[in-house]
Amino acid sequence: MNGVHDMGGMHGLGSVAPEANEPVFHMRWEARALALTLAAGACGRWNIDKSRFARERIPGPDYLRMSYYEKWIAGLETLLTETGLVSREELAAGRSASRVADVSPPLIADRVAATLAQGGPTERKVTVEPRLSVGERIRARNLNPTEHTRLPRYVRGKCGTITRRHGAHVFPDANAHGRGEQPQHLYQVRFEGRELWGEQAIGPGAVYLDLWEDYLEPG
């Protein structure tokens, strides 16, 4: 979706303000927000792509105003209610009104290290051969889905060169919407600064993105 989360290339959002000796969490609730998101995710009712899409659907003005972990909590509440694990009434009351059917035992402390170490690899074996080769010129397609995508607006319609093949990976555009993983080949693509930003592009340089086959056409 063409939301404000897709920020690459925008002006006017301020200057970068690094904080010296920044703590991992500024407030205790931020630490709990991270942990709740990871632990609830371990229930297996959604995936990382659904999770990203839940945050992208935060209305634009709110998205820009909210702090990072505020967005995580908003996203988590969306996922919990949309999957039916929690009702809006329960969220408002902070009290359980009913048991969840078919819920597996939660992630326990002893399993945290192993679960984090395992992570969620997205590479999959597929039988279909990659259509594109390293060195090949491509154009990023001009796609504007209202659903989740990982094709940023700033490269759509632009030409680049394949610099690496990553194998086949879970396709977020499908996986975020309950259509299964539909793994397809993923490529590293180099876009020259001038191609993206015109003759006034500042200095020599390029931007690299990792893009799925469905995002690309011959250049």
Partner: protein
Amino acid sequence: MPAHEHDGGHDHDDHGQHPPSDMTLRVKSLESLLVEKGLVDPAALDAIVETYENKVGPRNGARVVARAWVDRDYKARLLDNATAAIAELGYGGRQGEHMIVVENTARVHNMVVCTLCSCYPWPVLGLPPVWYKSAPYRSRAVIDPMGVLAEFGLELAENVEIRVWDSTAEIRYLVLPERPPGTDSFSEAQLAELVSRDSMIGVAFASAPSPLPA
């Protein structure tokens, strides 16, 4: 965000003199609801927080970089298959399942961003700092990398090519900064001390060694 806008790492209610913030209440309420429903275990939450607050952080990445600086074969493996080479030092897993390391040289400077959200190599760098997740960095890193680097006080020579890596898939990028001059006699552990988080994102150089006491 300037430090004074924060409360020094404590919730307001920890001080006992301010009412708890809305977010403190909202997250507490959500946690107790999910515990009551049997969806999360509070001890697991503690273990997750403990992991990212104390166990996983940029010291991991600094060890990887220092090893690459002293061990040519390791560096070759790191640039060839970063996931496996990083796993040799015991790091991997969530948000580092598929790693690529990009090397800074006299001619090429790499920097990493996630324009769409906040993708970041957790096993080697820990959780991302606020600026990395902020709109100014995410918006401008790809269109004005020189301007962004200038805000970090970094100036590159004119003939240096800037490569910006936008983490749009599940591949995570780590920058291998240049080894600072004057460090020939340094041990691997001493070298690791020169490697900052920011140098592995590509918005800083590895630190020059402090002058030896006279």
